[in-house]
């Protein structure tokens, strides 16, 4: 609860700070606010509270998810130093909006009532629509924002409709209330409940970009300024999966047999679409957007095999994925700024292709190493956190005996290695520009921290256990 209040206040505070002409103050202020919120998040550690007339519940699980979200936001904002020099940018507004969107994310993580989930989803989404279009003079950014907004608004409608149907069939908006009516499916549940559940799922699956609700993802991720792509692909995904997990495990455990096949099929489609399409991309950023679809697929395996290990699997996977993704986008930011001016595409826009990474490891060993570790982690190779994420996810599926889903996932992991290694091959085995990229100290520390975190979790995955 404290983080919500603090973030709302700091969001307003940052907007007011924007009146000052000095831009240099904003970034440290935003980071400071986030750190305070992160610390305050753990204030209720090991206690469970209900807030706002049972609208929100904070427990250890929600605090861990909140910490992942706030930590990701911290890393992303720390990488946003470019806004200080960019005359067009309006960092005060950006940071303010990010703070508000985090409030939405925390609501999605700790909701106890479907209304709260809806408010959270909307708060987060509207902030994202704005941030996607924040590169005002860039056509692709505008297109992405409009596309995202139209499709997002449409699915929000479906989601709201689903909630209404659920209320109609169970007479309750609360998770416990719905759980009470689904706990005994033998007594005959109304069709409204099933339809409502499906519509609600569609809304949430859209947000985490699961196929076949993923069509917005490549264009939006590609069109949005890279820094906000990093934010979207980590914070929105983590919050979305926290919400899905909470919804399915608390309210709909009783009708598992109904939804797991549907979810399993969606999972398989997501894995295949995400991985196979990523292979054909020539732009790194677009590849990352398909990769984010594929990771949604892996996380969905954990949900489709809902069991004792699922919680741990989803938390670990989200963390590993977020850290690796931010580190990859961090390197991309530097590369795109300083290298891709040489390779403008026909539209005059930087295309952020794989070629920009050629020879990077030779000129900038640190950047190369950080990128290599994050690619290995996303590909799920041991010694990195990503391997244990996949391991936990796979073991949930084995526990449920969903072997066919696992075989799809294994085949798709092998496909994944192909496109992640294109980056490593470009960086290490090809010759490219001889001019090293300038790396500011902030970037160096953030990338180093993310890399070390990935490796530490890869060697000692037990560090996180027992926290939640």
């Amino acid at each position: 609860m404290l983080p919500i209040v603090l973030l709302s206040v700091s969001g307003i505070g940052l907007l007011f700070l924007g009146f000052q002409k000095s831009r240099t103050l904003l970034l440290p202020a935003a980071l400071l606010f986030l750190l305070v919120a992160l610390a305050a998040n753990f204030y209720d550690w090991n206690k469970t509270y209900l807030y706002f007339n049972d609208m929100l519940r904070t427990d250890n699980l929600s605090m861990v998810f909140t910490a992942i979200v706030l930590g990701s936001a911290f890393l992303v904002i720390a990488l946003s130093t470019r806004f200080i020099e960019d005359e067009e940018a309006q960092p005060a507004e950006y940071y303010g909006i990010i703070m508000f969107s985090l409030v939405g994310a925390i609501m999605m993580i700790s909701f106890e009532n479907l209304i709260m989930l809806f408010v959270g989803v909307e708060t987060l989404s509207i902030a994202m629509y704005i941030l996607t279009g924040s590169d005002k003079r860039n056509l692709r950014s505008n297109e992405a924002a409009l596309k995202y907004f139209l499709m997002g608004a449409f699915t929000t409608g479906i989601m709201l409709f689903g909630m209404a149907l659920l209320y109609g069939s169970t007479g309750s908006f609360t998770l416990e209330g719905i759980a009470a009516s689904t706990v005994n499916p033998q007594q005959g549940l109304s069709l409204l409940l099933y339809v409502g559940l499906l519509m609600l799922l569609i809304g949430l699956l859209f947000k985490v970009s699961a196929a076949p609700f993923h069509f917005w993802t490549p264009d939006v991720y590609d069109g949005a300024p890279t820094i906000f792509t990093a934010f979207m692909s980590t914070v929105v995904k983590t919050a979305g999966f926290a919400a899905l997990f909470k919804l399915l495990s608390i309210s709909f455990g009783g009708v598992y047999t109904f939804w797991w096949t549907i979810l399993a099929i969606i999972t398989a489609i997501t894995l295949v679409v995400g991985n196979v399409t990523a292979v054909y991309q020539n732009s790194f950023k677009r590849m990352m957007s398909y990769s984010s679809i594929s990771h949604a697929g892996y996380l969905l395996i954990g949900l489709a095999a809902l069991g004792a290990q699922t919680k741990q699997a989803i938390v670990f996977y989200s963390l590993a994925y977020s850290v690796a993704t931010i580190s990859a986008f961090g390197v991309l930011l530097l590369v795109a700024q300083q290298r891709s001016t040489q390779t403008l595409s026909s539209t005059g826009l930087a295309n952020e292709g794989f070629d920009d990474f050629n020879g990077l490891a030779r000129q900038n060993p640190l950047l190369g190493f950080a990128m290599a570790v994050s690619m290995l982690s996303l590909a799920g190779i041991p010694l990195t956190a990503g391997f244990w994420g996949k391991f936990y996810i796979f073991s949930t599926a084995v526990e449920r005996g969903q072997i066919w889903l696992l075989v799809v996932a294994v085949l798709m992991s092998a496909v994944g290695i192909y496109y992640y290694f294109r980056v490593i091959i470009a960086m290490y085995f090809r010759d490219g520009a001889t001019e090293p990229i300038r790396v500011s100290p902030v970037y160096r520390y953030i990338l180093l921290a993310a890399t070390i975190l990935t490796l530490v979790l890869g060697i000692a995955p037990g560090l996180l256990q027992g926290l939640f």
Binding site: S395, L406, F421, P461
Partner: protein, 491 residues
């Protein structure tokens, strides 16, 4: 605790090596690897010949799942630990006359590779084994792809994807086995010893067999999973090829013995014959292709493919002699193949070619190289009194006991081996000198120093194999309890 040292020390040494600058890197790396050799020899010397796991350690790793960081050396591991400790310093020594770009990284990756290999051969936990099995791939991939030949990028990439793809199925099988173990203390167990106790259904044994077999068959490689191998061996820099052929392919054979035979005896009962037939096809096929090769490195690669087929066939014969033969042949083959690749490297460094028809007459100026080459060659063709003989004899005996006809077919390896090896020797060393070999300098002292321990091993294992057989025997006898007819009747 010695095992912990053997695993962690090379990794730490590799990290420290990265900060060493300049020409000293080679020497420092060599000293670091020699320290590891002392450790490995100490483990071998102090090893008590019984079936127990020794010098081990056991720490909690992932408590909530009961996965433990646990490793130790038993009779199955001990020769491979010795092999890994023995080969790496001499592989490093073999590079003393070469200049590699970014040497610190090069040698650090080699030591890191050694750490992972030690982990593979000593792990007592299924997931720890898998962890090291995959980790070992990262340094060798970078070694091959950064310092390799012209076509290195696509070739090594194929190798990487191929092997990862295979081992992912093994991961699924391991997780499955994990969930089959009984729950004690709130979680299942992933200890390999607990996997041995499982009573799986015949259907489950069948697919677990294939999940493991594909992973290991790609690694070794067994026909028809071998297509990555010749190109990778040829394109890799020679030290990486030595690591690949000398040690890394043994991971596959080791996996067969450690996992497939004792865990799924019924699966082996059903599918073992298919596996043996594939292996024997590999033996004959590899030999025939080797006879036609002109490139020395490619020839040795195919010979290695052929030899490893015999090891796999011997293991799947499910006999004690076959198992013993595979264990000793792994050590012998590691020594021989490194020696052969080094010969090819020495010739390449002086003539800039590995094509047999461009060589010839080398023996005129090189008494030392000729002798060492001949000794390594005789070891490879399994002449009595050399190391290759003991292993191949036991392996063939095993396969012959299993099935006479398959034994006969596998026996061709000795004849074909003599043909392609002697042909290589003849074409490169004898005959008229060519333009490239006219002024061929004999071995330098550091190059000779690489051969000395290898030659010692060739004769020691050939004349008195008991030193090595006796340490593996109790473990093999113990393992036989889980294998074959006796185990099938139990399960």
């Amino acid at each position: 605790m010695l095992t912990l040292f053997l695993i962690l020390y090379p990794a730490v040494a590799a990290a420290l090596l990265l900060i060493v600058k300049g020409e000293r890197v080679k020497q420092v790396a060599l000293v670091a690897a020699l320290v590891e050799l002392v450790g490995a020899v100490a483990a071998f010397a102090q090893f008590q010949p019984d079936a127990s796991s020794q010098f081990g350690f056991d720490y909690a790793w992932i408590n909530s799942l009961g996965i433990r960081f646990s490793a130790g050396i038993d009779g199955i591991s001990v020769l491979l630990v010795l092999l890994t400790g023995l080969l790496v310093p001499f592989i490093i020594l073999s590079t003393f006359n070469r200049q590699y770009d970014r040497p610190a990284l090069f040698y650090a990756l080699m030591l890191f590779m050694q750490a992972a290999l030690m982990g593979v051969f000593t792990a007592r936990d299924g997931f720890l084994f898998y962890f090291f099995f995959e980790v070992a791939l990262i340094p060798i991939y970078f070694l091959a792809a950064m310092w390799g030949g012209e076509n290195r990028v696509p070739v090594t990439f194929k190798f990487f994807v191929y092997t990862i793809f295979g081992s992912l199925f093994m991961l699924v099988a391991l997780v499955y086995l994990y969930y089959q173990t009984p729950v004690t203390g709130g979680h299942h167990s992933s200890a390999i010893a607990d996997f041995y106790q499982l009573k799986l259904t015949p259907a489950a044994q069948g697919w677990v067999f294939w999940a493991f077999f594909i992973a290991f068959a790609i690694k070794m490689p067994v026909f028809p999973f071998h297509t990555w191998q010749p190109d990778t061996y040829v394109e890799s820099p020679t030290p990486a090829t030595m690591l690949l052929a000398g040690i890394m392919l043994k991971m596959g054979v080791y996996g067969l013995i450690r996992f497939i035979l004792p865990i799924v005896p019924l699966g082996v009962e059903t599918w073992g014959k298919t596996a043996i037939i594939l292996s024997v096809i590999g033996i004959v096929y590899g030999s025939i292709i080797a006879i036609r090769q002109r490139d020395m490195k490619r020839l040795i690669a195919y010979s290695s493919f052929s030899h490893v087929g015999l090891m796999a066939a011997g293991v799947f014969s499910q006999t004690e002699t076959g198992m013993q033969g595979a264990l000793i042949q792994m050590l012998a083959h590691g020594v021989n193949v490194v020696g052969m690749f080094f010969v090819a490297d020495v010739i390449f460094s002086r003539t800039n070619t590995r094509q047999l028809d461009q060589l010839g007459g080398i023996t005129r100026t090189t008494p030392k190289l000729t002798v060492y080459f001949m000794i390594m060659l005789l070891g490879s063709v399994a002449l009595p009194l050399t190391n290759g003989f003991i292993g191949e004899f036991l392996l063939l005996h095993g396969v012959f006991t299993y099935n006479h006809y398959l034994g006969l077919a596998a026996g061709f390896t000795i004849i074909f081996g003599a043909v392609y090896m002697l042909r290589m020797f003849q074409k490169s060393m004898f005959g008229p000198t060519s333009v490239r070999t006219g002024t061929f300098a004999d071995l330098t002292s550091s190059e000779s120093l690489v051969f000395v321990p290898l030659v010692i091993m060739v004769f020691w294992m050939g004349i008195y194999p008991q030193t090595f057989l006796k340490v593996t025997e109790p473990a093999v006898v113990n393992l036989m309890k889980y294998i074959g007819a006796s185990a099938v009747s139990l399960k």
